[in-house]
Amino acid sequence: MCLAIPTKIIERQELMATVEIGGVTRRISLMLLPEARVGDFVLTHAGFAIQAVDGEEAEKTLALWRELAEDDR
C-alpha cells in the first residue's frame, strides 16, 4: 500500500503536474512537494509527489553494484 513509483514531471500548472511513467501520463498533485520542477523525477504515491528522486544517489547505488560485480570476476 505504501508503494510509490518514480515518475518524471513533464508539465506543471501551479500545484498540479503531469507526470510520465512508462509512456503513460498522469495528473498528480505537488501539494507535498511544491519545489518540484519540470524535468524532475519524483516519487509518486496515491496521486501525490511525495519525494524527489536524487539522480546522483541513484548513480552511486549503481556504481557500488558495478564495483561488487567487478570484484567478482
Binding site: 500500500m1 508503494l3 501539494m31 512537494l33 496521486g47
Partner: protein, 365 residues
C-alpha cells in the same frame, strides 16, 4: 534500476548471499517491517537464496492487515446508510469485517467507489452534492500526508458533503511496542523505504540507542534488500547496532518536511488499536479540532456491529513475526486468497497472501 543485465544481478546476488553466509556465524532473525518488502522478497525468491541460518520474518507493515475489524465494521455500516458514497483504495474492499466486507456490501447495493488518489473523492463529492461522500483514510506515514492534503483541499473547495474516516497509523511507535513486548526474537530490522521518504531517519534512532537493534532503511530492488541483510549481518557480527539509510535516492535524512508539516497541521497523534498488537500509545492520527467538520466519526452518527475477530485466524501473531503463516491451521485450507478468513490473506502485501502465492518462488534476478 537500469544498467544491469540479469546475469550481472544474479552474480551480485550470489556474491552477497555468500558474504552473508560467511558473516552469519549464528542464526539470525531479521524482520522486514514493510509489506512491499515482503512481496519483493518473495517475488525474487530471496528466502531460498539466503543461507539457512538467516531467517526473514514479516512484520506489521501492511496497513490493511493491521486495521482492526471495528474500523471495517464502521465503514460497512456507513456504506449501508442511504445517500452515502464510500470512496476507498482498492485494497480495503475484500477485507473481511466481523460479518461483511465492503465488497459484499457493494454487491448488496452500497455505492462504493475505488479511487487511486484521495483527491478523486473530492471530485466525487463535487459531482454528487446531494450525497455524503466518506473517504476511507487508511495507511502509514507514506499515505497519511496525502489524506491530510486532501482535507486541506476539501476546505479550500468549500465541500460540505465530504468526510474522512481516518485510521492512519505510525510505524516507529509500532516498532517500539513490538520490541517492548519482546518474544519476537528479532536481531535486526529492514525499515520501510517509502514511509521513511516522508519521516526521514531521526524517528528510528531509538532502535539502536535504546534497544541495541540494528536497522537499515532499504529500497525495494532485490539487490537492495540483500545489501540491507548484508549490513545487518555484518553489524551483528561486530556487535555494533547501527542505523543506516541505504535508500538515499529517495530517503533524505530529514524526510519530506512539507509533507510532515501538512500532516501535523491536519492530524494530531493519538493512541490507536492495531490488529495483533493491541492499543499502542501515540501510534495513530486523529483529525485536529480545526478540521473536525471533515471527520466522519464526529459528524455522522453510525452504529457498527460489535466487532469480532475470525475464529482460528492467527494474523495477529503473523504481524508480530511470532509465527509464519504456515503455522496457522487455516492456511491454504479454509483461508485462501479467493476466500480469505483474515486480513493477512487479503492484501497483496499481507504475509499470508505472499506466502500462499510465492511460497516456493525461486530467485529470478
Amino acid at each position: 534500476m537500469t544498467g544491469r543485465t540479469t546475469d550481472e544481478s544474479r552474480r551480485l546476488a550470489k556474491r552477497l548471499a555468500e558474504e552473508i553466509s560467511r558473516l552469519a556465524v549464528r542464526p539470525i532473525r531479521l524482520m522486514e517491517v514493510c509489506g512491499s518488502h515482503t512481496v519483493a522478497i518473495f517475488k525474487a525468491g530471496l528466502r531460498q537464496l539466503l543461507p539457512a541460518q538467516v531467517e526473514l520474518v514479516s512484520g506489521p507493515g501492511c496497513p490493511v492487515c493491521v486495521t482492526p475489524n471495528e474500523y471495517l465494521d464502521t465503514a460497512v455500516a456507513y456504506s449501508r446508510q442511504p445517500g452515502v458514497i464510500i470512496a476507498t483504495f482498492g485494497d480495503m474492499l475484500r477485507v473481511p469485517g466481523s460479518s461483511s466486507s465492503l465488497a459484499a456490501a457493494k454487491m448488496a447495493g452500497a455505492d462504493i467507489r475505488i479511487i487511486y488518489s484521495p483527491l478523486e473523492s473530492l471530485d466525487i463529492a463535487a459531482a454528487n452534492p446531494t450525497k455524503t461522500v466518506i473517504f476511507l483514510a487508511v495507511g502509514f506515514e507514506t499515505t497519511a500526508p496525502t489524506a491530510a492534503a486532501t482535507i486541506l483541499a476539501a476546505e479550500q473547495a468549500g465541500l460540505a458533503n465530504w468526510f474522512a474516516l481516518s485510521a492512519h497509523k505510525l510505524v516507529p511507535p509500532a516498532l517500539r511496542a513490538l520490541l517492548e513486548a519482546g518474544g519476537t526474537r528479532i536481531d535486526g530490522l529492514i525499515l520501510p523505504g517509502h514511509v521513511s521518504a516522508v519521516i526521514g531517519e531521526a524517528p528510528y534512532r531509538f532502535l539502536a540507542e535504546e534497544y541495541r537493534m540494528p536497522a537499515v532503511i532499504a529500497g525495494f530492488e532485490p539487490l537492495e534488500i540483500l545489501q540491507a541483510v548484508h549490513s545487518l549481518a555484518r553489524w551483528l557480527r561486530l556487535g555494533e547496532p547501527r542505523l543506516a539509510n541505504q535508500y538515499r535516492r529517495v530517503v533524505k535524512p530529514e524526510g519530506n518536511p512539507v509533507a510532515r508539516a501538512v500532516l501535523g497541521r491536519v492530524y494530531g497523534e493519538a493512541d490507536a488499536a492495531w490488529r495483533g498488537l493491541g492499543v499502542i500509545p501515540a501510534s495513530g492520527l486523529v483529525v485536529r479540532k480545526e478540521y473536525q467538520r471533515f471527520d466522519a466519526r464526529r459528524k455522522i452518527p453510525v452504529e457498527p456491529e460489535a466487532a469480532r475477530e475470525p475464529d482460528g485466524c492467527r494474523c495477529g501473531e503473523v504481524l508480530r513475526g511470532m509465527i509464519s503463516p504456515e503455522a496457522c491451521l487455516l492456511f491454504r485450507q479454509a483461508c485462501r486468497p479467493e476466500n480469505p478468513v483474515g486480513s493477512c490473506m487479503v492484501s497483496a502485501e499481507g504475509a499470508c497472501a505472499a506466502w500462499y502465492k510465492y511460497g516456493s518462488g525461486r530467485w529470478q534476478g
